[in-house]
């Protein structure tokens, strides 16, 4: 099993509903977020192009954060998801520094927090909160090992990219282009 997410940059309007849904679902403390929206404007006026991406932890296959964690608090869980065990985490900040996507933040309670792909919802057969809330239905979540999952189906027919694959992290967040 390999959980992954595909996000359609052509459909995303950058409304930030995913951000709010995540904050509500996961009780993310005020002022922090596990996912965020990036808008990139590219080109020279008047030939401009805009790309809107809803970003979060890339749940990398070769995670620098898991590698550098001195206590084993950051670990690979079921389906390749990278999780943090709060009472093993000492809050040293190594994983925050090691993440090329800056996907982690220090929770006010002391431990380091990040996107979990809403594993608690997925186990119940639900979609992650951000995917469920998306008004344009631009996000696809599922198991890459299952050829009939939503994410596998869309990756078969669409062109996609991952973020900074040259960092060697093997990210599992796919952006449809």
């Amino acid at each position: 099993m390999r959980y992954a997410m595909a996000i359609d940059t052509k459909k995303c309007v950058g409304c930030s509903d995913c951000v709010v849904a995540c904050q509500t679902e996961n009780s993310v403390p005020v002022g922090y977020c596990r996912d965020w929206v990036v808008e990139v404007t590219d080109g020279t006026y008047p030939q401009l192009e805009i790309e809107i991406r809803s970003e979060r932890c890339n749940q990398c296959d070769n995670s620098p954060c898991v590698r550098c964690c001195p206590t084993g608090a950051s670990h690979y869980a079921e389906g390749g998801i990278v999780l943090v065990t709060p009472n093993k985490c000492i809050g040293c900040g190594a994983c925050i520094t090691s993440c090329p996507y800056d996907a982690r933040y220090p929770h006010p309670d002391g431990y380091v927090d990040k996107c979990t792909f809403c594993i608690h919802r997925v186990k119940k057969g639900l979609e992650p909160a951000c995917v469920a809330a998306c008004p344009t239905k631009c996000m696809y979540f599922g198991d890459l090992d299952d050829p009939n999952s939503k994410v596998s189906e869309i990756l078969k027919v669409r062109k996609y990219k991952t973020l900074i694959p040259e960092a060697g992290t093997d990210p599992q967040l796919y952006f449809l282009i």
Binding site: V40, D42, C68, I90, G93, S98, A167
Partner: protein
């Protein structure tokens, strides 16, 4: 011509790389750890070589400050932790891939050794020192008889500690400025240089000072070589590393790096030490303080600039 503008909707100032997660605690600790490693290395080395008599400052006096240096450093490390009460979790596991785990375990070895070494040499400054309890006297005698073994372990452990202070940074490929293995030898050299400087400060013997002046000059030349090599490596590497090197080559950290670290911390003390060897009268305090200052600044600048360097996307 291509213009790119990134507007980020992330509402989290704490994940923005310009607000770095590691503040003064980590670079201060790396400096103190390197300094402790430097002093212990020379203490161990000259004991192994059987030259304890001719190098009293290196073997006996300077190591007396190491326990204090390490305690301050460990306290700074503790302040860095956000989940302080869980620090013992470091010692419930060994993670070979994590430099921080290596560091925690090496400190677990080096800190007690530094206390033992200071304890068996405490009569150097308190000649009338008496251990109050019998068990301590027995331990003192035991460790004194095992001095050579301790010296061996100390020398090897101090090299690991010195290299680790640099590898801690270079293991992070998310920060391109740190992602060079030269930081390991560079921080080791910087730590040895700082250690030699402290030994010079403690030394009352002209011969010993001259030797450590010479050692320091050699280490500074090695450091300069490593720094040039580091920038050559960056400039011949990928776009992100070229950008990272530019922080020091025209970017915001240029003046502080080249003036504080290279000129004040390496070139001037090296010149002063050469002049001293040429029989000019130069108070040892000046080159030694400059070396320590340069070593501290190196850690701070690499730490802060490194957290500003990033992958472009």
């Amino acid at each position: 011509m291509r213009e790119e503008l990134i507007v980020s909707g992330r509402a989290n100032p704490l994940i923005d790389p310009h607000l770095h997660i590691w503040h003064w605690q980590i670079p201060l600790y790396l400096f103190l750890g390197g300094l402790a490693a430097g002093i212990l290395f020379f203490a161990g080395l000259y004991t192994i070589m059987g030259k304890e008599k001719s190098y009293p400052a290196a073997v006996r006096r300077a190591p007396l400050i190491v326990p204090f240096v390490l305690i301050i450093g460990l306290f700074a490390l503790l302040l860095d932790l956000k989940h302080k009460l869980f620090f013992w979790r470091l010692y419930t596991t060994i993670r070979l891939e994590s430099p921080m785990s290596w560091g925690a375990w090496v400190l677990m070895l080096v800190t007690p050794l530094s206390f033992i070494w200071a304890a068996i040499h405490i009569r150097e400054i308190f000649p009338k020192w008496n251990w109050k309890f019998r068990i301590l006297i027995i331990l003192d005698e035991f460790f004194t008889s095992q001095k050579r073994t301790i010296a061996w372990v100390m020398t090897i452990a101090s090299v690991i500690l010195g290299v680790y202070t640099g590898i801690l940074f270079s293991a992070f490929n998310a920060r391109p400025l740190w992602n060079t293995s030269i930081l390991g030898p560079l921080f080791l050299a910087s730590g040895l240089s700082a250690g030699a400087a402290v030994i010079m400060l403690f030394s009352k013997d002209h011969h010993e000072r001259t030797i450590f002046s010479k050692i320091d000059i050699v280490i500074i030349v090695v450091e300069l070589f490593l720094i040039i090599h580091m920038f050559m490596g960056f400039l011949a590497s990928t776009q992100v590393q070229i950008k990272a090197a530019e922080l020091f080559l025209g970017g915001p950290y240029t003046a502080s790096f080249w003036i504080f670290v290279v000129i004040m911390g390496m070139i001037i003390p090296a010149i002063l030490e050469v002049l001293e060897l040429k029989k000019f009268k130069i108070p040892i305090l000046i080159p030694a303080t400059l070396v320590l200052f340069g070593s501290l600044m190196l850690r701070f600048l690499i730490s802060f600039a490194g957290q500003e360097s990033r992958w472009l996307y």
